[in-house]
């Protein structure tokens, strides 16, 4: 048992730190740390910087111009970039579709799409959930009917994150109603500018249009855009979900959130002393920090197992639950910390270059918005209820 990184891993960490110090634009890290809105161009800028270094395909093997990093290196990279306030890597093309194409796509699909993902030629979004198919994803109804050399797609997807920026969508569609619901699902790649596609923004409770509805009316999709075999899409979808769940613990986000919480609670005065010195508040901060310390090690245990070649299993469900609960508690404490100034909501403050002065402490409004926005953490990517179900079946065998 040795809890420390090896010398090679420490050297790698230093290399990542040096790279961030030299190449992460302060304009971007200021926005991330200040809770400001990131634009499409912001994400693209950061992707391009990483790609120039060869570090954009974090989870990709070297043969596809990825980093070839193992689980520990990926973890170090995630930890360092989050701590530095780098924008997150938009996961849809890089962490979701990319691995699916590598494993199940045709050579033509790999050759065409993978470089375009790295170069930022395509912005992918995810067409999984539907209004009637959330936790019960296999009940999806968006339909693709074969017509010669095309599929005709009709139906609706929802919760499509950043779909407003995307020129491509990967979709789970129903190609058969025979057998179990899981058996008639296919995995299709669709151009967002195809006739018959309509994107409607959904405004969330924090006031942001982060997700969308995507409607398909008689959308024609060439059959070569089918990934793998028809009616085998559920297998690919499950494979994708295991990749979606890498970094599911969100340790880096939690650490960044905790240090922001301590800073904010150190600046807020209550009863003549900083709030962080108030024993009632300090106890709650300590409690969540203690939980985070343990969870970070649970995460490392899983990562070490993965680096040793074990496939991630139901452990990721534990990390999803504990990781999201911890981050949500940090969000709740940060909201509590800003006191009466949690209430004002002046949307334009979140825009870069806005002349609007913050109302009260600058951290106040982003704290409230983050609290509301991050209620999603325990809902998306398989709700925490679904994760508990997985644990009770796969680990407890109940």
């Amino acid at each position: 048992m040795d809890l420390n990184y090896t010398d090679d891993q420490k050297a790698f960490r230093d290399e990542v730190r040096a790279f961030l110090a030299d190449h992460l634009p302060q304009r971007l890290s200021d926005k991330v740390k200040g809770g400001k809105r990131l634009t499409k161009a912001d994400y693209e800028e950061w992707h391009a910087i990483l790609n120039a270094k060869g570090w954009l395909g974090v989870t990709w093997p070297k043969e596809h111009d990825g980093t070839g990093w193992d689980a520990v290196e990926r973890h170090i990279f995630e930890e360092e970039t989050t701590a530095a306030g780098a924008p997150r890597i938009v996961p849809f093309g890089l962490n979701m579709l990319g691995p699916v194409l590598m494993k199940f796509g045709s050579d033509a699909q790999k050759d065409h799409y993978l470089p375009r993902i790295l170069n930022g030629d395509d912005w992918w979004c995810q067409g999984y959930s539907e209004p009637g198919a959330g936790s019960d994803l296999a009940s999806l109804r968006c339909e693709a009917v074969r017509d010669g050399e095309h599929y005709i797609v009709n139906g609706q997807k929802t919760w499509t994150t950043l779909g407003q920026y995307a020129n491509k969508i990967f979709c789970l569609v129903r190609t058969s109603k025979e057998g179990k619901p899981q058996q008639g699902i296919s995995f299709l790649l669709i151009d967002m500018d195809s006739p018959g596609i309509e994107v409607r923004p959904i405004v969330l409770i924090d006031g942001e249009a982060e997700v969308n509805e995507v409607w398909f009316k008689d959308v024609r999709v060439p059959v070569e855009n089918l990934v793998g075999e028809e009616n085998a899409g559920w297998t690919y979808a499950k494979y994708l979900l295991t990749h979606e769940r890498t970094n599911i613990a969100g340790v880096g986000f939690a650490r960044a959130g905790l240090s922001a919480l301590k800073r904010i609670a150190g600046e807020q005065m209550q009863g003549g002393q900083p709030l962080i010195a108030n024993p009632f508040f300090a106890a709650k901060v300590a409690q969540v920090e203690i939980d985070l310390m343990a969870m970070a090690t649970t995460n490392l245990r899983t990562i070490a197992a993965a680096a040793a070649g074990q496939a991630p299993g139901a452990e990721s469900s534990m990390l999803k639950i504990k990781g999201t609960v911890i981050r949500q508690e940090i969000n709740a404490l940060t909201r509590q910390a800003v006191g009466p100034y949690a209430a004002p909501f002046v949307s334009e403050i979140l825009d870069e270059g806005s002349n609007a002065e913050p109302v009260g402490p600058e951290a106040a409004m982003p704290a409230t918005q983050a609290y509301f926005n991050n209620r999603k953490l325990s809902i998306y990517g398989g709700s925490n209820e679904v994760q508990r179900q997985i644990i009770s079946k796969a680990i407890l065998e109940l």
Binding site: S135, S139, L204, I205, A343, V346
Partner: protein, 368 residues
């Protein structure tokens, strides 16, 4: 022992519930919040016509209520409807103080629908009622007020505001605080919308008011402020209860309607048990509000204020988080009704002291 409402209060509750469910819509709330004053003028006129501001005052004061349970009935219904109206500010806070110092002409106008604001909290005061940095200096013309007031709810809808300022003592002393009646036009306001609806303003003061603007005795306003604040806290706790009731109905309906895995999700035992816990906490919240409203005019009032505000703060977080979680994605959207109620309920813990503040205060009061 009797937990039934009196016939008059029952009628008020029934009438209000009918009126508010016919009148308050998400569109009307959004329009008021985005408007210049933050006020739904039609709704306010309707409530005034029904005598709602009058229910905040005793017959002696020109009203027809004024007891804790009158506040409870009215604010629970306002909470059920999710309606942001300036009733706490104008009738409970400003009106309560004006009645206490004998400004019955203004009380009569408040009962008639006039909106007077209350500017007390400051950028650095957090929840400490005695923390007043705003200064009032005596001049030949009267009093020169300088300072800043924070998150003054419904200020843009007022024509006059009661402002607290220090005429003596140190920043956190209870002694030395005075109250002044200041025309809104004399204030510099920066107004903005609030999470959960309505508008508020940051106020900067640099104005001279005449001697006649002083309310009550100079330097002795703290007990007036504390008493009005206790009643306002009771009103806000009752409003929170109403918000919880609506959230409960929305969530139970959703558990019955939403089908996944071939059945309504309300058939899953995991969700049934959690919803049962939510129900228990809402009933706890109701009892806490009854405790507070029943003790508003007693010596135990302060302890009940802190007990109730603490419990409401804890219950509110549970109700908000569980209701969003059990709804799933739809509960995260601005368009669906839950979002507004969840945000409004969340903001309850950011006014008049949060759950921790009142836990600490309860411990202090209980030990005394």
């Amino acid at each position: 022992m009797n937990f039934q409402l009196t016939e008059e209060r029952q009628m008020l509750q029934d009438g209000l519930r009918r009126y508010l469910s016919d009148t308050v819509t998400p569109e009307a709330i959004a329009a008021a919040t985005d408007g210049a004053t933050g006020l739904d003028a039609e709704l306010w006129a309707g409530l005034t016509e029904m005598g709602v501001p009058g229910a905040m005052f005793t017959e002696e004061q020109g009203g027809f209520g004024g007891a804790g349970f009158d506040l409870m009935v009215v604010f629970e219904e306002l909470g059920r409807a999710g309606a942001p109206v300036p009733l706490i500010e104008s009738a409970v806070l400003a009106g309560g103080i004006l009645a206490e110092v004998g400004h019955m002409d203004l009380v009569e106008e408040i009962i008639g629908g006039r909106i007077i604001g209350f500017a007390h909290g400051e950028p650095a005061s957090r929840y400490d009622l005695a923390h007043v940095q705003t200064r009032a200096e005596k001049t030949d013309a009267g009093w020169h007020l300088t300072g800043a007031k924070a998150v003054v709810q419904h200020a843009p809808a007022t024509d006059t505001v009661i402002v607290s300022a220090r005429t003596g003592g140190d920043v956190t002393d209870q002694d030395g605080i005075s109250l002044f009646l200041v025309p809104t036009a004399e204030l510099h306001m920066r107004d903005y919308p609030l999470n959960g609806g309505g508008r508020a303003a940051e106020i900067t003061l640099d104005t001279v008011v005449p001697d006649s603007a002083v309310l009550g005795e100079t330097g002795a306003a703290y007990p007036l402020i504390a008493a009005a604040n206790a009643r306002a806290t009771a009103a806000q706790c009752a409003e929170a209860l109403g918000l919880m009731e609506t959230i409960k109905h929305l969530t139970v309906d959703y558990l019955r309607q939403r089908k996944q895995f071939g059945q309504p999700i309300g058939k899953f035992q995991a969700l049934q048990h959690r919803m049962a816990d939510v129900l228990i906490e809402i009933e706890q919240a109701r009892s806490a509000v009854i405790n507070l409203c029943g003790h508003l005019d007693t010596d135990d009032c302060d302890m009940h204020v802190s007990a109730t505000k603490n419990l409401i703060g804890r219950a509110a977080r549970l109700v908000v988080e569980e209701s969003i979680q059990m709804h799933g994605g739809i509960g995260m959207t601005q368009e669906y009704a839950l979002g507004h109620f969840a945000k409004r309920l969340t903001m309850v813990d950011h006014r008049f002291g949060d759950a921790d503040y009142h836990l600490e205060r309860f411990i202090r009061l209980a030990a005394a």
